[in-house]
């Protein structure tokens, strides 16, 4: 009965529908304000518009790295009364007791950022309209960079080198390392040698050398076999090209308009209104500092550096000015007072969990290496975030030289960095130890998110420091996010979780 009635109904309906055209049973969707892949991406202009945003994904680097940096000894987010309690996550990061379930949001967020961007790159590489060799090399380098971040954080990850595949296999760290090395080596010949200009913020030859250098620098951690000579090779390519130099003013590389710094190898362009996400000032400053810099909203008063880290700077070190300590003033020059007590930032932090009160709120030296924009009503700033720069390359080469036994060559590079840092008060070093190399890297590259990698390489990550007991060695790898494990049966969890 159903069949006939249905046919009868269709007949009746369609007969009448004939008068309305074939609209009778036509359910095709008309898309007005969105685009589908077959309607966009064919012309060169549209192709460019698809490649550029792939770099914009890289702009989330700061946002994804800023919070997890609390696991190092250069950043701490104490609980100040009720503020920053957040279910205990900052304490867990600091003490290396992060939990697979409770902190799944953080780890899954980083994983998704990495792999969703890789997917977009793979889709683009699979597009046959893309024929420009340089662009292809750029995208391969970018993809390899994401894989490098993935294996640095999670260790045994997926190698995603093509479109498709619902449950890809998990690879070991060594396999990922080898693949990333291959990709970069293959891409380098086709990359541009131009720095700045059109290539600002993009992958050029020197960026690829830098990534390769980082790979080789940590080769012992990743694969068990050190590759110090190869580090020197890669760093030579960058430093000896003389395309980069160290500006005398250390902070010019971190100013609001820092895109012209000759030191920057790779930065992510950011803007207060057009491309937001860079907001270290909101995380670190005290609420009352709203009146110091005339901001649009009160900052969140949390992130600070550890006392020991702050005290590792000598007073003559220009870089110590990257931290805020002492009495705070408003824009008119009047001293700020918090609940009856003068607002004086002191580097000493009494405890990881402090009871509410002005003492808790002012504890810790704050971060101003990146210039804080004044009269900025937006929550974000316009400084470009620097991922790789020349000073880092110099220190990497120095470390590799030292580890190979070439102390003199190491000292040359380190002293060049220190000369810029101490300015008129510079005194050359004549001897150096591994611990001092680590300390110099710490002071130079504070809060640039290289610290965790450095601590692991120097075997210090699991040691105890203030408010943190010694942690297990398995904590040198983050756990594979639980959400990913649930969804991909071919993934297995890292040891120790």
């Amino acid at each position: 009965m159903n069949k006939y009635i249905k046919k009868g109904l269709i007949l009746t309906g369609c007969t009448i529908g004939l008068f309305m055209g074939h609209a009778c049973t036509d359910l095709e969707e008309e898309v007005y304000d969105q685009t589908t892949p077959d309607s966009f991406g064919q012309t060169p202009g549209q192709l460019n518009a698809l490649i550029g945003p792939l770099y914009s994904g890289l702009g989330d680097y700061y946002g994804n790295m800023a919070e997890i940096n609390t696991v190092t000894d250069e950043q701490i987010v104490p609980t100040r009364g009720g503020d920053w309690e957040d279910g205990g996550r900052w304490r867990r990061f600091h003490q290396h007791t992060w939990d697979v379930t409770l902190d799944d949001g953080t780890f899954n967020g980083i994983w998704n950022w990495i792999y969703n961007n890789i997917t977009r790159i793979n889709f683009q590489l699979a597009d046959e309209n893309l024929t420009n060799e340089q662009t292809i090399a750029e995208l391969r380098t970018l993809r390899a960079f994401y894989h490098y971040i993935a294996t640095d954080m999670f260790g045994n990850v997926i190698i995603a080198d093509r479109v498709g595949g619902d449950s890809p296999a998990q690879k070991t760290r060594t396999e990922v390392y080898t693949w990333v090395e291959q990709e970069l080596v293959a891409a380098i010949p086709n990359l541009s040698e131009e720095t700045g200009g059109v290539n600002y913020g993009r992958m050029n030859k020197y960026v690829a050398h830098m990534i390769l250098g980082k790979l080789y620098l940590n080769a012992q951690v990743y694969t068990g076999t050190p590759q110090w000579a190869k580090v020197i090779e890669q760093m030579d390519a960058i430093i000896n090209s003389n395309k980069y130099s160290l500006p005398a003013d250390f902070f010019s590389t971190f100013a609001v308009q820092n895109q012209n710094s000759p030191e920057i190898i790779l930065a992510t362009p950011m803007d207060a209104t057009k491309r937001g996400g860079f907001n270290p000032h909101m995380r670190t400053l005290h609420y009352l500092n709203q009146t110091t810099y005339n901001l649009g909203a009160a900052p969140w008063n949390g992130f600070a550096t550890m006392a020991e880290f702050y005290n590792s700077y000598e007073d003559t070190d220009q870089r110590k000015d990257g931290w805020i300590v002492g009495q705070q003033f408003n824009a008119k020059g009047e001293p700020l007072v918090d609940d009856g007590q003068p607002l004086i930032f002191s580097p000493e932090i009494p405890a990881l969990v402090m009871p509410a009160g002005p003492a808790a709120r002012r504890a810790g030296a704050r971060f101003k290496k990146y210039e804080i924009q004044v009269n900025n009503k937006n929550n974000d700033q316009s400084n470009d975030f620097v991922i790789f720069r020349l000073a880092d390359a110099l220190l990497m080469r120095a470390e590799a030289q030292f580890r190979l036994g070439n102390t003199a060559a190491a000292l040359t590079d380190i002293n060049r960095v220190r000369e810029r840092a101490y300015g008129a008060n510079y005194v050359a070093l004549t001897t150096i130890t591994l611990d001092e190399i680590l300390a110099e890297r710490g002071r130079e590259l504070a809060w640039e998110f290289h610290r965790r990698q450095d601590l692991i390489r120097f075997d210090k990550f699991t040691q105890a420091w203030q408010f943190k007991p010694a942690s297990a060695e398995t904590r040198e790898l983050y756990p594979i996010p639980r959400t990913q494990l649930d969804l991909n049966p071919n993934l297995s969890q890292n040891p120790g979780y």
């Binding site: 009635i5 009868g8 109904l9 269709i10 309906g13 049973t25 969707e29 304000d33 969105q34 685009t35 892949p37 966009f40 460019n48 698809l50 550029g52 945003p53 770099y55 914009s56 994904g57 702009g59 946002g63 919070e67 009364g81 009720g82 503020d83 309690e85 957040d86 279910g87 996550r89 867990r92 939990d99 799944d104 994983w111 998704n112 792999y115 997917t119 977009r120 793979n122 997926i158 995603a160 479109v163 498709g164 619902d166 059109v198 207060a272 209104t273 057009k274 491309r275 609420y287 009352l288 500092n289 649009g296 009160a298 008063n301 700020l336 009856g340 009871p355 929550n379 959400t483 969804l487």
Partner: protein, 1038 residues
Amino acid sequence: MMKTTHQPLFHQRNDSDYAHFGKPTPHLIKRSIVSAALTLILVFICTLQTFAQDVTVSGKVTDPADNSPLPGVNITVKGTTTGTVTDGTGAYSISVPGNSTLVYSFIGYTTQEIPVNNRSTIDVALAGDVQALSEVVVIGYGEQKKKDVTGSIAQVSAKDFNAGINPNPLQAIQGKVAGLNITRPSGDPNQAPTVRLRGYTSLAGGSEPLYVVDGIIGVPINSVSPEDIESMDVLKDASAAAIYGARAANGVIIVTTKRGREGKTTVGFNNYVGTEIISNRLELLNGEEYRQEVNRIKGPASLDDNLRFPDGNFSTDWIDEITRVAYTNNHDLSIMGGGSSFSYRGSLNYIQQQGILKNTGFNRLTGRVNIDQRAINDRLKIQYNLSIANTNAQLREDGVISRAVTFLPTLPIKDPGGRSDFGGYYEVDGSFDLFNPVAIQNNFLNDRVRRNLIGGVNMSFEVLDGLVLGANGAFRNESTIESQAFNGVIKQFQGNQGRTARNLYQTNNTLLDLTATYTRNIGANSNFNLLGGYSYQENVDDGFGANNNNYIDGGYDLFGYDNLGRGNGTLLFGRSDYVSSYKNSWKLISFFGRATFNFVDKYNVTATLRRDGSSKFGVNNRWGIFPSFAAGWTISNEPFLQDNRVLSYLKLRAGWGQTGNSEGIRPYNTLRLLGPVQNYYDATAGVAGDFVPGYGYTQNDNPDLKWEVLEQTNVGLDFTLFDRITGTLDVYNKMTRDMLYPFTVAATGGRFVTNSIVANAGTMRNRGIELSIGADIINKENFTWNARVVGAYNENTIMSLNSGDFNVGIIRYNSFGGRGLSNVFASELRPGRSLGEFYIPQHAGFDQNGNMLFVAADGGEPTTDNSKAKLVESGVALPRYTGALINTLRYGNFDLNFQLRGVAGNKILNNLRSNLSIPGSILETNMLKDVQDLPANFSTNQLSDFWLESGAFVRLDNWQLGYNLPMAEGRIVQAARIYLGGNNLFVITKYKGIDPELEVRGDLADNGRSQTPNNIGIDAASVYPKTRSFQLGVNLTF
């Protein structure tokens, strides 16, 4: 506390963008138009009256069953349009020619024609069937006698509508239908009530039923004035709703508006004024108490802070400062009449309701014309429906209430030192949470103008005896203009830099139905009815908007939002979202058929089949089939129960059916889309490089996306006991399969571009019992009392959340917010448990440092570390039991009706109280008086069952006391009634918050894009005060 910046991927309207302002509305102009129209009509009526010099007939019309008088009976002189209507006591008086015949007619009663024969007194007893059973209920695409109904349908007719101030028809039927839970979550007149029929059936689909008004599907219910409604039929189960197939998973509410009828022209006038006051306030500390508490907790030194304790010993009640007594007035005018082949009804309704928060409220003007025409021997019937509704609303700004609750009582409104920044208002510099609420209230504009224009034509032609062909066409245009402006001088709005915006949204919806019906009687008491039809509906949504910021000083006072171009923002700060526009559309095509068989007045069978196709679904699954089957058995007509004393009526119904839900997803969800993504830096753009808009993949494609299917089984019993007690009992089981939800997908680098994909997976179950039972407790000549109890029990369970390919992952929702409380959630979606269940630690006291202690997971000593606390299932947010007691009393010319309504079995997490009860933070915000009972060193708030409270309550929902004025004959006014009434007279509850009824949206956050369900059962920061209202009104019939 962490904040993340997200750029919206789609530039579509965002519910959180509402802001409010107080621009004067031209209500005074509208008022004078209405009163002018009223005067004109009165004059017109007077000249219409014809004076007959013959006999004056008077008498009384009663119902012989109980001798009760029948008001409102239509009495016409046969063959003319002269007539009258019985008044409240059933009495009438009319002058007619002595040899004429009077026709007495009333719904539910047999019409009588009585020749006058020069008599001067004619009393009439109108007989009818037992009222309940000759009533007709409206089912989809037709009507059915109540006795033949096989599905679960409840009808509320206009005379049963709720008393009180109810501009929205949903408020008029709140509590009247078992299983239909309508919640008005706050006193905000612009906030729509939330509606739930038999529980929450879907995570993403929402739970709004489908509204059908006069055959037009999908009309927004708040554009209909309740005074225009004749009846609302609620189709509760699948067998009743299946005829609407793909959109009926949450039930269907069919609204029938009043139409004209043959008879004398009558004019109705209904006017009331009302007032609203706050029904319950938070007990916050006043100035003196605040100083005492600061002294106790922080010490006397803290009182020296000049910012928080300025000279002048102020004690400001901020809630008082931002609220007022609100007034409402409602004017309704209707006129109807007609002849044998043409009848009409026109109405005009104007309501103006102020909100209890200053500068909020709305006014609405609705006009409706219904025309019925008959021709060709009554074979051709045409109905025209035209309605227009225009609403001007002043919306609220959430900051006003949330800041009024936290701003310190020791602060004045204006800065006594005459400071000029912040607009002269007193502010506490550099504080994170303290913002002057009066400054906010006086410095924003948030207006919305919404217009709904609906036109429909319904034709039916009886081609052969019993075979009727019908065509129904309707067009709806809804346009909304939202306008906002914020004064950037105020501390609260410094972040948005004086933003102004105007947005226009438009919906155009076209509907065409073609039906063929064949009815045939077999023998004396059997019949069958066949229906076949085709339906086509297309909906196009489009809109555009513009915004700007950074106006010159005083720009807000000069322009408001009337001159967007004057802002400097577009020139100084490039952004890509200063302008936006969008357009999308969807189509729905259906074929449906229904067969109904009624045998010998005892057995009924209904079978429905519908085939729906929607453009929203994947290419592979566009069409779905929705069958249903139901049967009924009138047991009391069987010989063994005939003349039974106890069971005068007993009918058993059983039905099964499948309905679909396509309302929960937006169009284009099946396609892999390229959309706007983050701006990127292009060195070749602009002068020396600039940021330009980027395009990227923003959505995963799912060509297999299909309907969400709801399968429901319903067994019901309708009964009448002792000829006096009538009732209905329904037992149901609903299973939602292939639940639509944005599932998490693995980030593998090769297949998916975003974290989630809208897919079908997962099942949810709702089951419960509904009972509605009522009786005339006292039924005497002069005094009657009718009481009805309506109750329901519903239990919701998420059965499963995955289907092989897709897994929900860990979805935590119900965020418990406050300082230091980001990423803290009270609920997690877990299979086997109910939606909205709290899964939280148990409180075990405070330790000596003032930290909260929790019961430990390992059974040891209570711990202060919440990651080691034991998580316990602590109750559900959705009430298990809901009920209402409806009373109607009549004594002489007085009538009284009132309704008590309550729920039980649910818990509420009182987030607001928790944030206002932290002694350690007493200098950050004001606190509740309760803070005096907590340890002084308690400063870190945590989630635990310490803040979980029972949400059970009983409320006197609405009441009305009326008096029917006895009218002498021959007056222009036929009937008059004055009344006094109100809403929310009292509420009995243990809940310590403002009100235990909260808004429960029942869908996903971020307009359906997020994976997180909206809050269920959490009393959060910014609740518009709940109100108590009183009204005084008059009904006149001419």
